[in-house]
Amino acid sequence: MSFIAVVETINFFLASVAALASFGILRKVAGNLATSWKYAFIAFQVLALATLLTAIDELGVPSIAGISAHLLRNIAHFVFIILAFFGLLHQYRIIRGLTERGTN
């Protein structure tokens, strides 16, 4: 087992724990804030999938269902970053709305 395969397997567990932590926060908040944490919850699950795909690729499986593991990994990273970006943007808008309300 290569060094990268080991690190990516650890990363898979870390991303899964991050998804669980996001789910924990999601259960504690409500309204618009919950929507932004929904993005984070799904994003970390997708990131866990991306790290798993990298580990599988490193273990010597170059394609899954006829699609290159390389391409699948990059698509998973793409979905993760888009979800993370919109989640952060959503939270930024909520916090900005709250601070503007506080100053007025």
Partner: protein, 130 residues
């Protein structure tokens, strides 16, 4: 080509997400700011990690199938003879991939610390409301 294009979009979106994370951190105070302090550096680390991955994938096109450097050293000590062999295989490309995997791990650890702090904060707020 399509794979490389996706990689570039991911790296650029990651850097844009880092700017938004910084803006959020500047607006919040107290315990919430403490938790964002952990999440804030993680986003550019992710973008850098993915940029390294893209560079690694790009350099793969120029990889060689033979060692870059081969060195055999004959050593004769007290009538005993031995040979030390050393081979260097594209050290930059190999190290890049390891750095990327470790940078991704650093990103996840920072995010996890930030998320756990936010979870504790929201838990405290929820228990106060009950």
């Amino acid at each position: 080509m399509f794979v490389d294009l996706i990689a570039v979009v991911v790296a650029v979106t990651g850097l844009a997400a880092a700017i938004i994370a910084r803006k959020i951190w500047l607006m919040v105070e107290g315990d919430l700011a403490d938790s964002w302090r952990w999440i804030l550096p993680s986003v550019p680390i992710y973008a850098i990690s993915f940029t390294i991955l893209t560079t690694y994938d790009f350099l793969q096109k120029f990889k060689v199938i033979q060692p870059v450097l081969k060195a055999n050293i004959d050593v004769n000590l007290l009538e005993k003879q031995t040979v030390f062999s050393m081979q260097v295989w594209e050290p930059i490309i190999l190290v890049l991939r390891n750095i990327q995997a470790l940078a991704e791990m650093a990103f996840l650890i920072l995010v996890l610390v930030g998320l756990i702090r936010q979870y504790k904060l929201f838990q405290q707020l929820a228990s106060k409301q009950d």
